[in-house]
């Protein structure tokens, strides 16, 4: 007798934004998996048209309250590229410091508040605090340390106001930067303890043959710059993005799906960054990864929580190094004059590759904008993961299966607010 079962999660919890999950199992076979994204469209790519290019960092920040710095960074790099300007030296270093802050606060939020409850069998961080308050306090200290960097360099934690095409509006003083150091030294110990903590979680035996995609820089673990590379040999400049990647619309999602032309779905995020760039980690982070038993060709998406913890060590250690050596530039920004042209740039948001494209006019007005957020790129891969994950587990009771499916979605730290409604459909273009 065939049995038809349906696992439905009408409103995914502990993710940013509004999504649902719908899985159909027919006679023990998974016949349909849909990560439904019903986050209402906000049409950023349309409303950016006609805006002055200097407004883009403030407007695109509003795409996501959790990773506004990522949107600001991709926007300013793309626009500087359109205007033929490269920002180097200490301004570049301070941007890196700001990005460190966002990685720390975003990863601390996800590790402690959104994902750890799955591994511990509880519904939220408050329940963890009941039995293990010291652990939760450690997570909150980490999050606060990341936010302290963003608040100093950006002005405030959510939607920073100090990021400008060309640099910053105002520079922090050396004395202000030094005030972060003590807090970050504590945070570095907290992050190392976090790596050890999450390494002790139980991980399902689940490995996927992903094509991993991330930035790669000659000398650094990637934040703002690098070539776009993959685990199967892709190696392209940021301006070649649209020649290799494409987006398509599906009926069950207000976020467009993405694929590599002629190759299929791919995976972006901490796991991809780590596998493709583990040799660029600072020694402390590399040792932490090794001590956690993280193999350098890891393909288990459930281990992404360990990678996030390792990346917190990386970001904190790097932030301290920057604060110790950075010399403040003479001016907070370099002048950027508009010219007619197109600029493309990708940076590594906490959740993965975030690509922006702008075309501007000679008087600096935006004529076209295209934004490809990490969760859009991962959507189809998340559905593939679920199909493969459920197949050998159809014997589980519905409640257990649902719990594990939700956990599998949260491996990606999906940011549904970000991913919704972005991309111009370009399938017909070539």
């Amino acid at each position: 007798m065939t049995e038809r079962r349906r696992i439905k999660v009408d409103y995914l919890a502990r993710v940013e934004g509004e999504g649902a999950l719908d899985v159909t199992i027919d006679g023990g076979q998974v016949t349909d998996v849909r990560l439904k994204i019903f986050e209402p469209p906000r049409f950023f790519e349309a409303l950016l048209r006609g805006r002055h290019f200097t407004e883009a960092p403030d407007i695109t920040a509003r795409i996501c309250g959790i990773c506004p710095v990522a949107y600001q960074m991709s926007a300013i790099h793309a626009l500087e590229s359109a205007c033929g300007v490269t920002v180097e030296g200490p301004l570049r270093t301070l941007r890196r410091l700001l990005y460190c802050g966002e990685w720390i606060e975003s990863h601390a939020l996800h590790v402690y508040m959104l994902h750890a409850p799955d591994f511990l069998g509880v519904h939220n961080v408050v329940e963890i605090a009941r039995s293990q308050p010291a652990i939760v306090e450690r997570g909150l200290r980490l999050k606060k340390a990341g936010n302290a960097i963003v608040a100093l360099l950006g002005g405030r934690e959510v939607h920073p106001i100090n990021v400008k095409v060309g640099g910053f509006y105002r520079l922090p003083s050396k004395a202000q930067l030094r005030t972060l150091r003590e807090q970050l030294a504590v945070a570095r110990e907290d992050a190392l303890a976090t790596v050890a903590w999450v390494a002790g979680f139980d991980f399902p035996d689940f490995h996927r043959d992903y094509e991993l995609v991330a930035l790669r820089h000659p000398a650094e673990y990637p934040f703002n710059e690098g070539r776009i590379v993959s685990s199967r040999g892709l190696d392209i400049g940021q301006s070649e993005y649209h020649d290799h990647f494409e987006e398509h619309q599906v009926e069950h999602s207000t976020a467009l799906h993405c694929r590599l032309r002629g190759r299929g779905h791919y995976h972006v995020g901490p796991l991809a960054r780590f596998v493709l760039n583990h040799d660029r980690l600072r020694p402390l982070a590399r040792e932490a990864a090794a001590s956690a038993g993280l193999v350098t060709d890891c393909r288990n998406p459930f281990m992404s929580i360990v990678v996030r913890a390792v990346e917190m060590v990386q970001a904190i250690d790097e932030a301290i190094a920057i604060i110790d050596v950075v010399e403040l530039p003479a001016a907070p920004a370099v002048a950027v004059e508009p010219r007619a042209g197109t600029g493309l740039a990708a940076t590594e948001a906490p959740r993965g590759l975030l690509h922006h494209t702008y075309r501007i006019s000679a008087d600096g007005l935006i004529e076209h904008a295209q934004i490809v957020p990490p969760t859009s790129q991962n959507q189809a891969t998340i559905e593939d993961d679920l199909r493969a994950f459920i197949a050998p587990r159809t014997g589980l009771p519905d409640d257990d299966l649902q719990w594990q499916c939700e956990q599998a979605v949260r491996n990606y730290d999906p940011c549904i607010s970000c991913s919704t409604h972005f991309l111009d459909l370009r399938v017909t273009r070539r």
Partner: protein
């Protein structure tokens, strides 16, 4: 039986940043969770406790037919309903569609617009249901958010200043960017709450907290165009950001159309 007041957090069209501000209260979060029951907060917990709720915080604007229905149910379930942030109190940046055509917006973003269910406008929550208190900001100030939660749980009025960003700026002793540098600044017409953040970072206010009561943006816009020599399009765009649909910014953003 749990006698703590029940808190719920609901999201409509938004970036999640205002509800994140609650989780950004790192020093107060555990104390808050001890004194109230977090009964329904999807971003933070997979456990949902049924309503009714003593206090509902609502983030986001109404942009779909489904959400227009859902807010009615949220109101029915909530003894006190407080809207948080520019999307919920003014329609947000997504209300820029209200000045143009949503069909065109949909065509720009989606290849198959027929799959997309959206309203022609993005509107604040108060256009749809009675709202007990509106906390402004893009994003809200987390200290003000804690103050509002404390006030409603203790049955008193929130202490949130209603004056302009200019007053905060003067109180901090910041040099006026409009007077000293001749840059158009929305400080005189913008609701306080940020602590004059942008002037403190050497840039003009761009109106995250929306219009203050009895603001006169027409006079400010006129000053920017004449005394400061700003072009009309720049002044218009300055009013057309996160609180574009809130009067009187709405009227000023349409000037010369």
């Amino acid at each position: 039986m749990d006698l703590r007041p029940k808190l719920a957090v609901f999201k409509f069209a938004s970036c999640d940043g205002c509800q994140l501000s609650l989780l950004d209260c790192e020093d107060e979060l555990l104390a808050l969770a001890a004194s109230i029951e977090i009964a329904n907060f999807a971003e933070a917990s997979s456990a949902v406790i049924e309503g009714p709720y003593d206090l509902a915080l609502v983030e986001g604007s109404i942009t779909t037919p489904h959400d227009a229905d859902r807010i009615l149910e949220v109101r029915r379930q909530s003894r006190v309903l407080v809207t948080i942030g520019a999307c919920a109190t003014a329609g947000g940046i997504q209300a820029l569609r209200n000045f143009g055509s949503v069909e065109e917006y949909t065509r720009i973003v989606y290849a198959k617009p027929s799959y997309i269910s959206t309203l022609a406008t993005s509107t604040p929550i108060a256009d749809h249901v009675k709202v007990d208190y509106e906390l402004r900001g893009c994003p809200v100030n987390k200290h003000q958010l804690l103050e509002v939660i404390s006030a409603f749980l203790n049955h008193r009025a929130p202490r949130v200043a209603a004056h302009s960003v200019c007053v905060e700026c003067k109180a901090r002793g910041i040099t006026c960017v409009m007077v000293a540098r001749g840059e158009p600044c929305l400080g005189p017409v913008t609701h306080a709450g940020c602590g004059a953040l942008c002037p403190a970072y050497d840039r003009p206010c761009f109106g995250c907290y929306g219009p203050k009561e009895l603001a006169n943006p027409a006079a400010l816009g006129e000053w920017a165009r004449t005394a400061l020599g700003a072009d009309a399009a720049t002044v218009r765009r300055q009013f057309q950001t996160f609180n574009a649909w809130a009067e009187p910014f709405r009227t000023e953003g349409r000037r010369d159309d």
